[in-house]
Subunit: 142 residues, 2 copies
């Protein structure tokens, strides 16, 4: 019997179309890369990685693919300070914890019952459409 030690020993099959977006070869590889390596790569990092399978892809195309995926709600774009944008396939509502030591960005889920309007003094009449929470700190392994 065959056992898999990695969760990604086989590349996931990406459908022809997602959320109304035609998944071209380039878009597939960009998206596959994001869901396989669930980190938060920059466009340039995706570009580097995807060149294994598509040696002729251009950085502009990676940007185009990422933009198309973001606009169709298939992935999210996240920005930290003034750094390059990063991309994230996690569509659940979540924040980010930025480990200052390792540089690793962890997704942080909101606990059940989380309601930000209870916690901050919003301007009167304010309706929240979008929440962005970024934390920075360290992870003490002790």
């Amino acid at each position: 019997m065959i056992s898999h030690t990695s969760t990604h020993s086989v590349s996931p099959v990406i459908p022809e179309e997602i959320a109304g977006l035609r998944m071209t070869r380039q878009r597939q590889e960009v998206y596959r890369n994001l869901i396989e390596q669930r980190d938060h790569p920059t466009a340039n990092e995706v570009y580097m990685r995807v060149k294994d399978r598509l040696p002729n892809i251009s950085l502009a195309t990676v940007y185009n693919c990422l933009e198309a995926l973001v606009e169709h709600g298939i992935i999210r774009q996240v920005n930290f300070e003034r750094e390059s944008s990063r991309y994230c396939p996690n569509l659940t509502e979540h924040g980010h914890f930025h480990d200052a030591v390792t540089g690793i960005i962890h997704d942080v889920d909101f606990k059940p019952g989380f309601n930000l309007a209870d916690l901050v003094e919003l301007p009167p009449g304010a309706v929240i459409d979008d929440i962005e929470i970024t934390l920075r700190g360290k992870v003490t392994s002790a």
Copy 2:
């Protein structure tokens, strides 16, 4: 008797030194501008405004002043998406509400007892050094 209708009819006097930073004329004007108009201007907006009083100031100097003020903890730099950095003289811990209609950025204070660690699933051992909360939405005046 003289009555003041504006809270800023007189420009505040800026000390010679703040938090160990020598307040040169340029730094004074940049800082004065931020505390007078308590909005969240970009470097370029500060540059435009400050030219009234210092017609020869350069944009690079505005950037230098803002950087010096930020590094000495006198003002804060805030970034929204990939837009130009904005600067904020409010040193209390607070978040921002971005009105999608007017573009106005409101400071939002945290309610008493606010503790984000209670609300999100942090990675084990995580210690939060810095919190950044940005909300986007509308303000319904009705």
